[in-house]
């Protein structure tokens, strides 16, 4: 057991696996000497050298495409996109190459690769550096999508993402980097597709991802002072999605609110809502609700950004409205 930040946990997860397997390399902009734009790769270059922690030119398409080619030929690359907003620049390599190659080739190739994507708002970085684009990725057959909300999950999910033989999109929330928590460095990997019940409750189920898990927990503790017991579920992996845990909770609470930082329209929160509406119809006492960011780009001004992105108060309001 050791206290680490979310950002350290990601780094230590990579370090542990890189020590075990020389075929794991890291590719990205300023991931070496500089230690990464958010300091996540940190001192890994000191441990593994510039061949394995490789600075790249500013060419996101080539970074992802290069990872695809390397993964197809025996390496297990971990590519870093400095912001998930830049997946737009490597979108073809992610969607038309990485995701489809195994299928198009009749299952005769495996692509063990991880793409790390710092995600989310809250850093006053405006519309091109604050998005939460996980919905795009979950829509693409062939990709797995991971989104940890705590140091422990970040560590355990990084191990299994690296171990996975398929392209895994590893979302990281920038605001959580500094958050610290207990991590057992000898822990078993956290399997993909297993949700975590972050708080138990009987009155209502909240499904939250990334930073919103903490807003939901904050709301839950405030609500319990009013005697309202909310259950907070963190799927941890968006695909594969742990439906069972979600359905069981709804069977108990009969009410559900989905909370994500995504733009509401076309969000993955919508997919989860659609699945629940289809599968849990008879267990629902109220319509499935979503608390997401407003349907706008992320504005720069702090007052506007804090308004567009949901917080615990918006969750409390939604819960009270439903009960």
């Amino acid at each position: 057991m050791r206290k680490m930040t979310y950002s350290e946990a990601i780094r230590e997860g990579m370090r542990r696996r890189m020590k075990e397997d020389p075929n794991i390399i890291i590719l990205g902009e300023d991931v070496g000497e500089f230690g990464g734009c958010f300091g996540v790769t940190g001192d890994l270059i000191k441990t593994f050298g510039p061949e394995r922690v490789r600075d790249t030119p500013i060419s996101e398409g080539a970074i992802v495409g290069c990872a695809v080619g390397a993964a197809a030929t025996g390496l297990r690359p971990i590519a870093e996109l400095m912001f998930n907003d830049f997946m737009t620049v490597g979108m073809d390599q992610l969607v038309n190459q990485a995701a489809k190659m195994r299928y198009m080739f009749g299952g005769k190739i495996t692509l063990p690769m991880v793409v790390r994507m710092p995600t989310g708002a809250g850093t006053r970085a405006a519309a091109q550096h604050s998005q939460s684009l996980e919905a795009w990725l979950t829509h693409v057959p062939g990709l797995k999508v991971v989104y940890p909300s705590t140091p422990k999950d970040a560590y355990g999910l990084m191990l299994s993402s690296i171990d996975d033989d398929n392209p895994v999109m590893y979302m990281e929330h920038k605001v959580l980097y500094a958050m610290s928590g207990e991590v057992d460095e000898n822990m078993e990997p956290i399997p993909l597709g297993v949700a975590d019940v972050k708080r138990e409750g009987e009155d209502l189920t909240i499904i939250a991802t990334g930073r919103m898990v903490h807003e939901a927990l904050n709301a839950a503790s405030k609500l319990s002072q009013d005697g309202i017991e909310v259950e907070v579920i963190d799927p941890r992996t968006l695909y594969p999605l742990d439906n069972k845990t979600i359905f069981n909770s709804i069977e108990k609470t009969n009410k559900v609110i989905i909370v994500t930082e995504e733009t509401k329209r076309g969000s993955y929160a919508g997919e989860i809502a659609a699945i629940i509406a289809e599968e849990c119809f008879d267990n629902l006492d109220a319509p499935v609700a979503r608390v997401c960011s407003l349907d706008s780009p992320i504005p720069f001004s702090p007052v506007l950004e804090d308004y567009v992105v949901p917080n615990f108060q918006d969750i409390i309001n939604a819960v009270k409205k439903m009960l």
């Binding site: 300023d30 405006a126 407003l294």
Partner: protein, 300 residues
Amino acid sequence: FGEGHIPGFVHLYMGEEAVATGVCSNLNEDDYITSTHRGHGHIVAKGGDLKYMMAELFGKATGYCKGKGGSMHIADATKGILGANGIVGAGHNIAVGAGLSAKYRGTGQVCVCFFGDGSTNQGTFHESLNMASIWKLPVIFVCENNLYGISMHQSRHQAIQDVADRAVAYNMPGVVVDGNDIFAVYEAANEAINRARNGQGPTLIECKTYRHRGHFEGDPTTYRDPEEVREWLNKDPIHRLFEYMIENNISTEEEIQRINEEVNKEIDEAVRFAEESPYPPLESAVEDIYTDIVEEVRVR
């Protein structure tokens, strides 16, 4: 700066002033420019108003973008400023579009595309120079080679020393100039802009320069040799200009003193304007997404 008035991160232009100034002093008000994440200098040089720019940096309603854009997205269409841009390499395409538009409408306007050395490895650089060249568009590609893309020294991100060499791939002229010599920059830009206005197509100009500060405010810049930094500080373009003006009796110490004071006064006023300006109203967050649709707000 650095007093915590400004949210987010800012990329300062200090050290590269001669480029924007030398180039833009050749432009008409209706000419276009596209800029980068390091856009403050370009915007001021193209006639942007310090007050509105500062207010935008502060995230105020009176800013150029009503506080929605911030440092990386300042724009002023009335001055042909098609915007700073947070996506490295994005300005290249947009400049080509502005050039196509100017040529198609036959207005004689040109578009200057500012960008850094690091961005010349982005696919958009390649596609844009190719397109501008086959269509002979009035676009001037101005590379601010400050030797680094964040921590990556140019020698590590490309196998050439002169970005201008890449012009060969598009059969367009490629020129290298001392980016800290405002007169050299002016001359090179002047010739390229004339070519563009005369329908002879685009030019790639590489300005060798250096950023005095870190990549963004707060960057420790451990990746740079202090010796290298010191050398370049001595080549400070503004200093050089002032020395030149004095040596050639263009203006006296006193006059320069006065200019400095005026500039500082202007900046102080801009800061005051920004500080005194109100933050934007919450409802404005869902406006300006479309010309004709206002999205739902939330009650909070």
